[in-house]
């Protein structure tokens, strides 16, 4: 599947395209098929996202969506070396999902 990601303009937070809006949770990401360029152009122009791009991902039973590249999995979760600052601070296994 193809999903869209970028950073929130104001906060810089990593965000994922949900079909209507941007979410900080990768599991909310939807498959955009061949619509990536159109959506990204609209959303960038409306300043709803910054530095956006499309990536490959696959459905993931455990967490919904798993980006294909480790870099985007780290973006999705947070730094692997600071579990306390990730989106799943209480989940000791969250880091395994990245690797």
């Amino acid at each position: 599947m193809k999903i869209l990601t970028g950073n929130d303009l104001k906060s810089g937070a990593v965000v994922w395209w949900t079909g209507q809006d941007w979410s900080i949770h990768v599991e909310d990401a939807v498959d955009v098929g061949d619509q990536a360029d159109t959506i990204l152009a609209q959303e960038e122009a409306a300043r709803r996202v910054n530095a956006s791009y499309a990536i490959d991902a696959e459905p993931d039973g455990e967490r919904g969506v798993r980006p294909a590249h480790i870099k985007d999995r780290i973006r999705a979760l947070g730094p692997t070396v600071r579990p306390d600052l990730t989106l799943k601070p209480a989940d000791p296994n969250a880091g395994n999902w990245v690797i």
């Binding site: 950073n7 810089g12 990593v14 300043r47 480790i70 780290i74 692997t80 600071r82 600052l85």
Partner: protein
């Protein structure tokens, strides 16, 4: 240390106001990201993996307590309670919001700090010896010259759009503690046969994708021509440096392709011309700067005695302190490398504490080192035990300077958008491995440096043991290098062979150190043994 005059202050205040307006226009949609990006980068604001990242300049690594407190306050108020000290003697924050950036720059300006020229193709923060003004082996204090270069290079209209970024280092001691020959320009202040003081210029060094050791292009430039000669070096580069290819745009490539002789010839020609233009700052300006770097009021009656009966304290003294030029004083190094910690990271509380300790015990001065540690440069021996106890209580007492646990590691794939692999977990595992196997002390001086990609921010080329993270078909992989060294006998590490997984690289490092322990001769460091016996025995053990 240097204090801003009205011009310095007006420059940074004006820049804050300008950036506040630019940020407002970006948030209102009046500037596109393409228009805004170069403006934010000129103010040290990057967009990294998780948020905006702000890199704050620490000129030649020197800070006072008030500045350090503001750095801690920024970590608390605008970030997530910590900062990361870098190999460029700067500090970075990883979780900055764009809307907060102008306020942060204003807070910095209030204590004579900024983030200007910490990014982009300009002359970056000037680096220097972290022991400047304190070291026993120093000819003179190099910082007035570093400051003069800072002022000359700040907003220098001719050098704001160079072919590529440009890094200058100034030292004035026998021992090079600042990787001087791995800078675009490395300046060593020296004394000639006639007893005069001048500057030796090394030009065209650097790490990154094509590491090179800077050749000496002139062994003596009179100090009252330092800026003129620097300008000549930059002019030739600015004129002929490659702008067509980012990977060939650094001055090291120009010097290499032209040849040292031809590059030098052109610099000398430009220098002769510039001497007729009278561009050197007036001597009164240098004297004004120098007055800021006068020695603090050392206690000339300070005792040289040190009670080393506490074994932990004695170990810390042996590893983390260095001789001071003033009897009764030492240079104290605070390691930001606790076992299993993140190299270079410090919490806001730790930053506040280091500021307080500097105020109380080190004449209000701190230094940031390129090895991502902090220095209290002027500590009375009589205060050292109390200081150490306070550091210990705050988790800042690691006694491991220049050992295998004192690892330089760049942020890597945990934070950096250019990374191929994570650096920090590798550093953590290595320090844990050696803390557990108890070999750290036996190994003695061993400089281990890790970069998460070929850009080499973690100085892996210059590690006695270097580690480079690469991307192997989407998986993190780590190459091992041996034999690199910064300093007087600078050398570049060589790759041992095929790369390793994260756990594999930790094993490989331990095997390399075992070869050293088995092969070393009396008094040899790891690097010396490697240089004597060569790569083969290491390879046999590592790939067995």
């Amino acid at each position: 240390m240097y204090r801003y005059d009205q011009y310095d202050q007006a420059m940074v205040d004006t820049r804050v106001a300008e950036f506040r307006d630019q940020t407002r226009r970006r948030l209102e949609g009046k500037l596109t990201e393409d228009q805004f990006k170069p403006l934010r980068l000129q103010n040290g604001l990057y967009l990294q993996l998780h948020a905006y990242m702000l890199r704050v300049a620490v000129p030649y690594g020197t800070l006072n307590a008030a500045q350090m407190h503001v750095l801690a306050n920024i970590a608390d108020k605008y970030d997530r309670g910590y900062g990361h000290f870098t190999t460029r003697q700067n500090i970075q924050y990883n979780w900055i919001k764009l809307e907060d950036a102008p306020d942060i720059l204003a807070d910095l300006a209030a204590v004579e700090m900024h983030a200007i020229q910490t990014s982009g193709n300009c002359i970056r923060n000037i680096s220097s010896d972290q022991f400047a003004g304190a070291a026993a082996d120093e000819l003179i204090d190099p910082r007035p010259y570093a400051e003069l270069l800072r002022q000359w290079s700040s907003f220098h209209p001719e050098f704001l759009t160079l072919p590529r970024k440009f890094k200058i280092c100034v030292i004035a001691s026998e021992t090079d503690r600042a990787a001087m020959k791995l800078h675009d320009i490395g300046i060593r202040i020296v004394k000639n046969a006639a007893g005069e003081i001048g500057a030796a210029f090394y030009v065209g060094g650097g790490m990154g994708r094509t590491p090179m050791i800077a050749p000496l292009i002139r062994d003596f430039v009179p100090l009252d021509q330092l800026i003129t000669y620097s300008e000549a070096c930059l002019r030739v580069y600015n004129r002929y440096g490659r702008r067509d290819n980012k990977y060939k745009a650094r001055i090291k490539i120009l010097v290499h392709e032209l040849g040292k002789e031809e590059y030098t010839r052109q610099v000398e020609e430009e220098f002769a011309h510039l001497l007729t233009q009278g561009i050197e700052p007036p001597i009164a300006e240098l004297e004004r700067i120098m007055a800021h770097f006068a020695d603090p009021a050392f206690d000339t009656a300070a005792s040289d005695d040190l009670d080393l009966s506490n074994r932990d304290f004695a170990l810390w003294v042996a590893r983390n302190t260095v001789a001071h030029k003033q009897p009764g004083y030492v240079i104290a190094n605070i390691s930001l490398k606790p076992v299993g910690g993140i190299p270079g990271d410090a919490s806001a509380a730790q930053i506040h504490l280091m500021a307080d300790l500097a105020k109380e015990y080190s004449f209000d001065e701190l230094r940031v080192t390129h090895a991502q540690n902090i220095v209290l440069p002027h500590v009375r021996k009589a205060d050292l035990f109390t200081l150490w106890q306070k550091l210990e209580a705050a988790g800042l007492g690691a006694a491991n300077l220049d050992t295998v646990e004192d690892i330089i590691a760049c942020p890597g794939l945990d934070y950096c958008s250019l990374a191929n692999a994570r650096s920090i977990p590798v550093a953590q595992k290595i320090s844990q491995r050696f803390a557990a196997n108890g070999k750290t002390g036996e190994l003695g001086e061993l400089k281990l440096k890790i970069s998460g990609c070929i850009n080499a921010c973690g100085h892996h080329h210059a590690g006695h043991i270097g580690i480079l993270g690469v991307d192997k078909k989407g998986l993190e992989n780590y190459q091992l290098l041996l034999g690199g060294c910064e300093g007087d006998d600078t050398s570049l590490g060589k790759i041992t062979g095929p790369g390793f997984t994260e756990d594999g690289i930790v094993d490989a490092v331990e095997k390399a150190t075992d070869v050293y322990l088995a092969e070393r001769e009396e008094g040899e460091r790891f690097l010396d043994t490697y240089r004597r016996i060569g790569m083969e025995k290491f390879k046999e053990a590592i790939y067995a």
